[in-house]
């Protein structure tokens, strides 16, 4: 029997070489065409430089040649996971600019669809985040349920991902007759599956080990980088535009702003950002329940206030709303003609991605994938 030898290596003395490697643009873990130029020391990430713009299609320039209603389908194609939410700040801003007051029923429909789309977005975010960690089953469960929401959207607007449903002054069509019942079905299914996913994925010790104490984003750094949405709330900061500057009828509804608490690891790590999304689905369910309880039975003409010719007076507005991913803003400058003089989209994912180099230094390459997944980016919105 040979004697057990203990080999003592001082790893600080091991000679390593820094090298720069490219991840992407065609990389499965980057959630789209994103290229990350990573400088690594062994397996430790020492620097990350994101290169974006592979999907750039000059959204802002193209809008200057379009009429205002034509812009809406183009906005759908920014964050194609949550198109309903994308349209919201634009139509609300345009209505403010033109002085249109939309009746409560239409506002309730808008809120219901925005919250349903928030659930669909978070389902996809949690599912793909689980996939990054190697969990395949929750992905299938969540996509199965997301289908119910997309089917309802299809009945209302004809589209499954790109809706063109919110119009300036109203909606494209009224909701389908089965709207209330379908919403209730969706809520009960989402709650049931979420409970399952909590046991299967969020509480799974492999998943916890992969996500805690990784990519820690302190609240003050987050604010300085301008991140918003679940990424900011995951750092423990209570900031939600639905509460701080309510639009539509959010001020009359009862829901909590979910913040990360650092339950498993450190405050602001990947696990916290993910749990905020899980719990926000429940809050959205609560809002939809209240909408259904207050929803008027009689139908109305949802196009009654849609202007024939959208020609806002001279002026400018920065209209913003709480998207599933964070603050989406549209800076609309009108010169009194039928085309916008300038349309600026403050893309949520663009700002949220800019924090990646700050929070991924010093972690392993495998952790970089988890950090990127926890930011929940959509390249269509970043590149515009």
């Amino acid at each position: 029997m040979t004697e057990k030898r203990i080999i003592d290596v001082d790893y600080s003395q091991v000679d390593t070489e820094r090298m720069r490697i490219n991840m992407g643009p065609q990389h499965p873990s980057t959630h789209g065409v994103l290229r990350l130029e990573v400088e690594v020391d062994g397996e430790i990430v020492t620097d990350v430089v994101p290169h974006i713009g592979y999907l750039h299609r000059c959204f802002e320039k193209a809008c200057e040649k379009m009429s205002y209603p034509q812009v809406i389908p183009f906005i759908d194609r920014m964050d194609y996971i949550a198109s309903m939410n994308n349209e919201l700040p634009y139509v609300v801003g345009m209505e403010k600019l033109m002085g249109i007051n939309v009746p409560d029923r239409i506002q309730l429909i808008r809120m219901a669809f925005a919250e349903l789309n928030r659930i669909a977005n978070h389902q996809l975010a949690v599912a793909t985040f689980g996939l990054d960690a190697g969990a395949f089953t929750p992905f299938l469960y969540l996509f199965r349920d997301r289908e119910m929401i997309l089917n309802l959207f299809e009945k209302a607007s004809g589209g499954r991902l790109l809706y063109n449903y919110f119009w300036i002054g109203g909606l494209m069509h009224d909701v389908p007759p089965t709207f209330k019942q379908e919403c209730l079905n969706i809520i009960s299914t989402v709650r049931k599956t979420n409970e399952e996913v909590m046991n299967l994925l969020i509480g799974n010790s492999i998943f916890i080990e992969r996500t805690i104490n990784v990519g820690i984003l302190p609240a003050d750094v987050a604010v300085n980088f301008g991140v918003s949405g679940p990424v900011l709330r995951g750092s423990g900061l209570n900031y939600d535009l639905r509460r701080s500057e309510p639009y539509l009828l959010y001020d009359k509804f009862d829901f909590d702003v979910v913040v990360g608490k650092g339950e498993m690891g450190t405050l602001g790590d990947c696990w916290d950002r993910n749990i905020v999304r899980m719990r926000e689905m429940e809050e959205s369910c609560k809002i939809i329940e209240q909408i259904i309880a207050n929803f008027p039975d009689e139908s109305s003409d949802v196009r009654a206030l849609v202007p024939r010719r959208v020609k806002p007076p001279k002026g400018e507005i920065y209209s913003k709303a709480e998207n599933p991913k964070g603050e989406l803003g549209f800076y609309i400058v009108s010169d009194g003609t039928v085309n916008p003089y300038r349309m600026r989209a403050r893309a949520t994912s663009f700002v949220n991605l800019s924090v990646l180099p700050e929070i991924s230094k010093g972690y392993m390459i495998a952790d970089l994938i988890m950090i990127l997944g926890s930011l929940d980016i959509v390249l269509g919105e970043i590149d515009r």
Partner: protein, 158 residues
């Protein structure tokens, strides 16, 4: 704080640097300032306990017939108020000091404004194009921009 109070307070501190306040029904209130001391103004806006504008929501360029304008949309999370700053630059030499050291958000937003409008942000750590390719010519969001016909010898279809 209302826009008027912010304007009065800035005016008492910076005097002539602060040009005008526009507050009417058609616009959100905005303050036009001179470009020379923009970083000092932004630092006061961020650190003064009455302002606490810790969150930069948006930064963008604008191409007006007479000037290029940089627009800063600021928000304060603890005090829940907003203000818009505008800096007007001449078209021949559009340059302004970078506010990247005040709000890190400005880093990518300024790169985008440089990419799209050709506004130079001085002392920016890494001022290169961000959305268009690194060797692209011209600044697409300028009103007088002409679309190139070829890129690397390949005809561009519109």
């Amino acid at each position: 704080m209302t826009a008027n109070e912010i304007y009065e307070k800035l005016k008492s501190e910076f005097g002539d640097e602060i040009i005008s306040l526009t507050e009417d029904a058609a616009n959100e209130a905005f303050i036009v300032v001179k470009p020379q001391r923009i970083v000092e103004i932004c630092l006061v806006l961020r650190d003064d306990p009455n302002f606490k504008f810790d969150y930069m929501a948006n930064l963008t360029g604008m191409d007006y017939p007479n000037n290029l304008t940089v627009v800063y949309h600021l928000y304060s999370i603890p005090l829940n108020h907003r203000i818009v700053l505008k800096v007007e630059l001449n078209k021949e030499n559009p340059s302004v000091e970078s506010v990247e050291k005040v709000w890190k958000t400005a880093n990518w937003h300024e790169r985008e404004a440089y990419d799209m409008f050709g506004i130079i942000f001085e002392n920016h750590p890494f001022l290169v194009r961000i959305l268009t390719p690194y060797d692209w010519e011209g600044h697409p969001l300028r009103k007088d921009y002409k679309e190139p016909e070829t890129y690397h010898g390949v005809k561009i279809a519109y």
